[in-house]
Symmetry: D2
Subunit: 499 residues, 4 copies
């Protein structure tokens, strides 16, 4: 979930794709010597995804009343344990409710939990995890526990933790070290607490962004002797793993979950089709019907955005330079234009190209009063937000994640999430989608943990289409009652994850 | 906005439409003697819409820290006035931001404000208003002020006030008496404060639900001698007016805004098309793609719900007894079924029939684990919620407006807004839609206020398609620059409101 | 079926609707003295619908080899009868196949036939009919016969007869007088043969366009003494009946089938949604995906055209002057434009306004090479075709119903059906739609024939929503097996026709 | 265009894909010794695509009056040449009209023609071609001529020739040997006439199905010494080329046009989205709205069919065994079912799996009266048509390509095109799609003809994404006026064909 929706295909004409790749490399350079750097540069040393905020129920319910740092508090859970560090253990009950909500739409994972829990395919597994800590992740963690694993967990992002969920997990016995609004120092401290504990040494890693893996490489390289494998989900984390592999430094097998078919199709097309609507509505209450919208980029993310907005009565234009994607846009009924042709008339601009400066200051100057600009693409570079931080423009924060940029003549442009990913910042990811990703992660952990000696080398693997028959739980799928097509779907999901 | 989406056409087979009408009458009986009743029955005496909660930004931002009743506080606004009563005048700045957001998508109203403010067609008007107090209403009120009116305002619903917006209005000089979470006593006290003030007597009424009109009839009948007219928006309020008229007791002309074409099409079809998605997403984070949904009733509301969900990849079934609507559902590609045929397989049930007990306890018993049930139709009677309040079922409030009903075997059904209107309770109404309604209200006020003696009798009027030329602002429409189709739309809106 | 899709709502600004009505009246003037007029003016004396061509299977299969006039041939059917006049009785077998195809998608009518044939509600009825003679009409006629009626039939249009079907009907014992390509003289001769026959006098009339009724009024006024009622389907025919009624000359009750809900919704919205695609494809093989199309008028016909083309990937613009329709177009996601704004860029222009000269010569001059222009609206007046018949332009007939108009610089504009109704000229009407209309006609005949003395006066009636219980076949509906929703639909259809 | 829409992805569970490949191999075995075989086996020796019929305008206009074989007639064209053999040279004028229609929607090809004709990149090329001979092919051939080539042409299918077009081509100087309804002997004779002519030896081959290439290998192997390359379009032909290549017998470079991105996306998804509607409508006049349809297979073809039918109001079910495709179907809003679950209720079955016996006799027995079954997938094997040729069932040919299969109890099932490809047999392929394929073929010919010695070996090539700069016409693309987005699309098309 590190970066949900990178679209590399749809780069605009004037920005060669090469540049984009360099950009990713540039970012990696920052992280080369994170430890040596002082506090300011440390902020660059954690992966980008770890500073993106993540909207969730928590952001509404968290009354951030208490200013004391969790690190300074002593808390005891209902089992008498103190081996965790969360905002407020008393929120456990409320967090349990959020987890229960999430379980309702994560039937693939619940199904795996129910069927494999007598087998306990993760018995003996000691998993250290570093992911967003949300209700959905909690369902994953509790599934891993049900399958026999012991877990210690930390957050991959300083803003995204749902405090209540962290409390609920801690209360049920998972050692969680995470809260919303960590400092960078907190961030690394939490990771350290997960790994560096007496009498417990991890043998599996579940990472999202690569920061946990990175920290362990730097601080506890010896631990890798016991590690059976790494499961990594994000673009950034996978990139780091490939670099390690190329440099001959990868010392355990790693599973690239990011590039699985399920993730690509779901996190991009189907997920963005819903989250573009959700994100725009929650922030601006805008009516879609009749609005003129330009979507920059017609990759999977762009396709999802366009389909949803068209369906709700918006008039949608597309900018695209890749000829195949452009032709698809045409055939799907969208006018393919240059941004400058429509910039003065559109009500909403959505970027999803995976490129830099797709919307420039010059273009922002020409947008009409009341128009909205937001980003569903890669990182926070698609809109040239920096160019808006000048003295003649007034910024007015009207809501969380919503800024009015006011021009000298009174014109307002509504900027969402300061140009960061709208779907991460201003909408929730549908639970069902996270269920599929989480199930994939669980299966990858089971596969790596149970794989016979030698099946996997010290390399980065894609999730095998056909897992071996000795993985012992293929039978799950064919015992499910297939008479109802709802279950049928889930057979399918599980089928193609492991066949 | 009293009741946004009544659909009378789509009544289920076993419930004759007659019943439905009786039901409305029953409700009115309660209000016949509201004053005599003690406190408990007073809760019935205010119109139903006045106890429906209303979701808005406020519900997230209102940190309800302060328990002191606004009635006991003395507050002074930045102009030195104390003629208002709101939660906290210090929230004015934040409320101003919300109003600015709203202005961005209310261009019809802003356009009217700009063009008519030199004319001041409401100069001398003293308007007392009783509506939801939201950012959008604020834009209406400030438009009325810009056109020359003096306004005093109160809330038509005890939960729906955005405190910040009330503060902002009070700070800018409008006498507002309203806060979120009023008691019934507060409710009538606030109304009284608006009407019963020294040195100011209203000559126009803008009502939503009829409670203000009702109170004035009971307490200050003499005031009606100066009243030039009433503008009423809700079904309930309009119904009360027609009853008054029939009984020969209506002593001023009244304008029925509820049945204007704009309101019917917008508040139902187009608005519900968006709010069904918004309401479901905010409460449950459910993914629409692949979900099986049954929509009960294929009137305008049902059509909107079906179109939106189909467009986002849900598999939608329709129940409908009216043959024309059923045939339309067929031709639009929905399978018309009986609820019992699909009750065991659907993930979501949405009622929009305008009838009672469309979903019974027996059917709720057969729904599957994790399924969602909610109401977009009339009032709160479509789902038999009362039947769920039995000892063997456990209710668990998992979020605001979201209850898990837990059966003895562990099955959970997710009930939204306790069966009240999802679009009022769990989503915001698109600002653009409110802009149209608000513009209609403003035009109705202008028309009634400026109408020559004798044009309107003591009767209930529909907004005239062709307003007289002496209303003096028809020219507005034809001076607008029509080259851009965005403006063109707004000409159209204004055109058909007054032609 | 006289004129399938008049849309009166969407008239362009500069053309007052009054004009349009005058036009209809003008036409009626021509028909006042049809008999006296010579041959040339006779061409104006038959109703407009009787000269519109009607595309059907016949147009492809009719090898028009034989130049002999049917009137000069003596033919005998397989029962030994010579009481008919068709092109070639030997084509009966092939015509029977066409009827069988049609029966497959006319289940409402077949269902009526099966259930009422033991009752014989039309026993004793002698029906003279004047409609398009197509496979679908044949199913209607054979249903009437199955219900007990005797029928004599002629064509309401000189081009629309499917010769094979006429042969099949004649062969099975119905006295049919019709063929494709009649002269005007033939047209009236055929009508006369139906009415003026020894030993048989009609007591019911089923008319489409009013020519049969007109002829009988002029030539055989005495026959009306026995006539129990007229069922009329077309706009024109209904208009004539209302004129008769107003003039006090209508001497029997008449049923207006044209304005039944079923006809309006089906013949316009749902039917045009399909026939616009069919008509364009059969004539031009054009690909819809990516094409820019402007639809003039957003009434029911325009809504159907827009929905279909949008769904298949066309980029659709709308011109509309009625503000409510325009706003609907906006909310449905179409850019509302003026025709001149897009005339140079669109690939296809479709008119459905119900007005005259919506597309002018000036605009045709500016269309781009290869663009298509056609009419789905009223009559043949929407495109100013006359203005194209000038010497500098070359007309090239490239296929039946397809002309290339070639400008001096080589630019070609493709004109379909010479501006007449595309759906009548170049596509077939879906059988299912015709089934509904035909069922309505059958029910209207049954109602009028069985109505007790005095129920219907000498007036024009709309089909009663609630037919009397004495019509004796209400039971049909409730004995149908409702377990399959396909049948359910047909219950519905029948239900709302008679309730 | 040999086989338009093979979908290999969506094979049903019980039919291993291996079988399908064996089937193709089986077919190839037949053609190993075509020459030795007698007449009966010769019918197997031509590629399957050469016996599929091909619907077109010609099928309606061809009055097949004249029974004389074209081989026995002597015809002279308007230039005095007799070097051709077509049905009737006098139809040239009518054929010219068809070509002109086609040119209107083939702007990519026309654009190439206009811009490259001064360069004459095919000067000196002598192309022998064997393709369907339709108006669209004629535009291709005349483009090749305009670019400098000399052409001799024959048909790749004994039924698909539009006689009028063949006449028009012959009249303009292209040596065409083809007519509709050739015998197998005629088929090979025509091919031979193209190749074996005095004073002219081909140096390029354009083939569709591989029959021309095959014949030349067998009869005139020496000709290949001069051949610079083969361009092949069909699945079958490409398969044959790969076999030759594997066997070391391919003696010239060959270009595989079939697997180009343009062809896959266009011929499958976008093209089938339109042709499914066209094919069903032309054959059955069925109304789509409200119909229940099951589409077997959710590959590109299935996706196109489902999208179109859903958009027009059909209720669509999908059967699919590939889990990714099944999940896509779910997310796109289609219920994924087993065929047996819905077989009794559906109105239409459409197969597009690429597999054998997807619809079995047992299932056909359970279909309801009046239901339609047709094939959009691979070859003619998806519906077990053979099982219907039994004595208890009656076949009734009701129209060209439409059979009613009648069960003993009177039930009728409507079988289209005897189970062959609906889109080839009963609809036209949109001209725009053919334009793209034809442009690809032209570019492939230009590339192979102009390629420097040694660039291409004796192997099968995919069309290079980036053609060399020495191909000399890249500039075409960047000189096009890009201000109008219609042209912009065509730049795109050309761009991605050669970049």
């Amino acid at each position: 979930m590190g970066e949900l929706s990178p679209v590399f295909g749809g780069a605009p004409a004037h920005k060669p794709v090469k540049k984009q790749i360099q950009f990713v490399e540039d970012k990696q350079e920052f992280s080369r010597y994170p430890i040596k750097a002082g506090r300011r540069s440390l902020s660059r040393s954690i992966s980008q995804s770890s500073t993106d905020s993540y909207s969730s129920a928590a952001s509404y319910t968290d009354s951030s009343d208490d200013e004391t740092s969790p690190r300074e508090k002593t808390q005891v859970n209902s089992r008498g344990s103190t081996d965790f560090c969360v905002k407020n253990i008393k929120q456990a009950e409320f967090g349990r409710r959020e987890i229960e909500i999430a379980e309702q739409d994560m039937s693939a994972l619940i199904s795996l939990r129910k069927r494999a829990q007598s087998e306990k395919p993760l018995a003996g597994a000691k998993i250290v995890g570093c992911t967003h800590i949300t209700a959905q992740t909690a369902v994953l963690i509790e599934t891993l526990v049900a399958l026999g694993a012991q877990c210690r967990w930390t957050a991959c992002n300083i803003y995204s933790t749902q405090n209540e969920v962290a409390a609920a997990l801690s209360d049920s016995g998972v050692a969680v070290f995470a809260w919303k609004g960590e400092s960078e120092d907190d961030f690394w401290w939490c990771i350290d607490q997960c790994v560096n504990t007496e009498g417990w040494q991890p043998n599996m890693i579940l990472d999202d962004g690569g920061d946990l893996t990175h920290w362990m490489y730097k601080k506890y390289p010896n631990v890798f002797k016991k590690i059976r494998g790494i499961v990594e989900e994000s673009v950034t984390g996978v990139h780091r793993l490939y670099q390690l592999s190329k440099a001959g430094k990868l010392c355990v097998p790693a599973m690239n979950v990011n590039d699985s078919v399920t993730k690509q199709k779901f996190d991009n097309l189907y997920c963005c089709r819903e989250s573009i609507l959700d994100g725009l509505k929650r922030t601006t209450d805008v009516m879609f019907g009749g609005k003129q919208v330009v979507v920059c980029g017609y990759g999977e993310v762009g396709k999802g955005c366009c389909a949803a907005l068209k369906a709700l009565g918006a008039i949608v234009y597309v900018t695209e330079i890749d000829p195949i994607c452009a032709l698809q846009a045409c055939m799907d009924g969208f006018r393919v234009v240059k941004l400058n042709e429509v910039i003065r008339q559109v009500d909403v601009i959505i970027t999803c190209t995976g490129n830099k400066n797709v919307v420039t200051r010059d273009q922002l100057d020409r947008m009409k009063n009341g128009s909205i600009v937001c980003n569903m693409g890669h990182s926070n570079t698609e809109i040239d937000v920096a160019s808006l931080r000048t003295t003649e423009l007034t910024w007015e924060r009207v809501r969380s994640q919503v800024d009015h940029i006011i021009w000298p003549d009174g014109k307002r442009v509504i900027l969402l999430a300061e140009g960061r990913l709208l779907n991460l910042s201003c909408s929730t990811v549908p639970t069902f989608v996270l269920s599929i990703t989480a199930t994939t992660q669980a299966l990858a952990l089971i596969e790596l943990y149970n794989a016979p000696e030698g099946r996997y080398k010290q390399d980065v693997y894609l999730l095998p289409k056909k897992m071996g028959e000795d993985t012992c739980f293929l039978y799950i799928l064919f015992t499910v009652n297939s008479s109802m097509d709802f279950l049928f779907i889930h057979i399918i999901i599980l089928t193609f994850l492991i066949l």
